[in-house]
Amino acid sequence: MKPDLSVEIAGIQLKNPVMTASGTFGCGREYADLVDLKKLGAIVAKTVTLEPRKGNPPPRICETPSGMLNAIGLQNEGIDRFIEKEMPFLKKVGVPVIVNIAGDAVSDYVELCRRLSSVGDVAAIELNVSCPNVKAGGIAFGMHPGLVSEVVGACRRATGLPLIVKLTPNVGSVVGIARAAVGAGADAVSLINTVIGMSIDHNTFQPRLASGFGGLSGPAIRPIAVRMVWEVARELDVPIIGMGGVGDALDAVEFILAGATAVAVGTANFINPRATIDLIDGLEEFLIARGMDSVRDLVGKVKMDGSSPTC
């Protein structure tokens, strides 16, 4: 018998716990040639803002050990174009669509929530309060529990759709931020967004990104992400979408054991465009090999009994 990969998160039924991380999968269309989108647990679209944004000047990325830095700057065509151009495609795919939003002010988030509530076929809204690459909004909200509470609360009043709050690791206490989000009405949290980093060219003496610094992603940040998922899972009763260097099924298992109900694949999409599908297949094989019936039986099952067989 095939193991059951289905999970529920923020009231959304997913046929498997594998999503795309916002900003790494466009709006799905870009990968349609290479990925059977119908097989995904959910598609999380690239961040959309009220007005179009042209993004940051190039170079916007650079490679770093087992990762990459990016400072894209939330380039997007704005909510009107998103609803008109991308939603019809996403609707047709037939998997839950999670729309990630960001704004400069609380009122932007509220307006975006209102607009998306009337579109139909939006399964949930993910609040990006953690982008390190824009001057206003983004991480400026996500680093302060009071502001997180304010923006999540305002969105909660503006929409009946499930709200997922995407958290930044660039804080002293991720649990404090997560608690503020849950207290204000978040249905789930996703973590982590990128870790702020910097790389400098020894020839030119200039930063490798035009913006100076950017967000680190990829396998390099996975241990940070797993630790933060574990901390939030231990302290709070909220569904968690784990992300940060998820590339294959075994990475996903790590996050799920730490307490994530679902995982999102980000940078790995750039390396292996079929990473999501390979992960879903691998997860099924993992469960079969261990004679497990359901992926849900793995959630939070890390053994913290002090015995450590390998070191």
């Binding site: 900003g23 870009e30 290479l34 916007r60 087992s66 465009p273």
Partner: protein, 260 residues
């Protein structure tokens, strides 16, 4: 939309043209069949190592319908790792990606301007122009005679080829752009195609504009996904940022906003 393939392509040949410059022949019927001049492949170079992103390479030549070549210089760890592949190894390739050089059906004459390893995509284009009976001239510039890669291929395919070297070891002593006015006057091309260092492309673009000749250039950018999703590889154009991977790598020269 054109098909994109992700596959493991067998290495059929590897040549080191001069130290640090390699030409690798890869087997793939799918990519070879679908490829158009100007397109690129996105290659995983560091499997199992700590550099994780793919590297983009122009398709250099298409061979006998089931293989293609890339030509590259070792510039960092990714290209170094790729240069170490052995015969019959398999390389993880995504492609063909991006747009292609536009060749109008009635085109009768063209000028190719290549700088350094920028020759790579222009050989595929030269093959195509030759098979379409488009008469073309070319200016190939390099630092030194040894780096005039594929010069004999150009000779075979084109009408007249002008070489320039910065050290004067072959052809005109100087840069490719030194000859461009003269060759345009001589050959009256309907179109100019160019690939090479950005400084050279800018001069080519300016001269083409001054002569009122359509000009297409192929650019290179740091890139992550190659598919238009990550928005890393933007080029500044008159219409704002556009993507080298999807809107390019070939742009009409007048679209691009060059750095001063």
């Amino acid at each position: 939309m054109n098909a994109i393939y992700r596959l493991q392509a067998e290495v059929l040949n590897k040549e080191e043209l001069i130290p640090g410059v390699f030409r690798i022949k890869l087997f793939s019927e799918e990519i070879s069949r679908a490829a158009k001049p100007g397109q690129f492949v996105h290659v995983a170079c560091g499997k199992g190592r700590d550099f994780i992103l793919r590297r983009p390479f122009s398709i250099h030549r298409r061979l006998s319908g089931n293989a293609f070549e890339i030509l590259f210089q070792v510039v960092g760890r990714g290209t170094e790792a790729l240069s170490e592949v052995r015969l019959h190894d398999f390389v993880d390739v995504l492609g063909p990606l991006g747009n292609s050089f536009e060749i109008p059906p009635d085109l009768s004459s063209a000028l190719l301007v290549a700088g350094g390893v920028g020759i790579a995509p222009l050989i595929f284009l030269a093959d195509e122009l030759n098979s379409r009976k488009v008469r073309f001239y070319a200016i190939q510039g390099a630092t030194t005679q040894q780096r005039l890669f594929c010069y004999m291929d150009l000779k075979r395919l084109g009408r007249q080829i002008f070489a320039t070297t910065e050290d004067g070891t072959a052809g005109h002593c100087g840069r490719a752009t030194d000859l461009i006015h003269e060759v345009i006057k001589k050959s009256a091309p309907e179109r100019i195609y160019s690939c090479g260092p950005e400084g050279m492309l800018k001069v080519v673009a300016d001269v083409a504009a001054a002569f009122g000749i359509d000009c297409q250039v192929s650019v290179e950018r740091r890139m992550a996904c190659g598919l238009g999703a990550c928005l890393s590889c933007v080029c500044q154009t008159r219409d704002g940022y556009r993507l080298a991977c999807k809107d390019g790598p070939v742009f009409r020269a007048e679209e691009l906003s060059w750095k001063a």
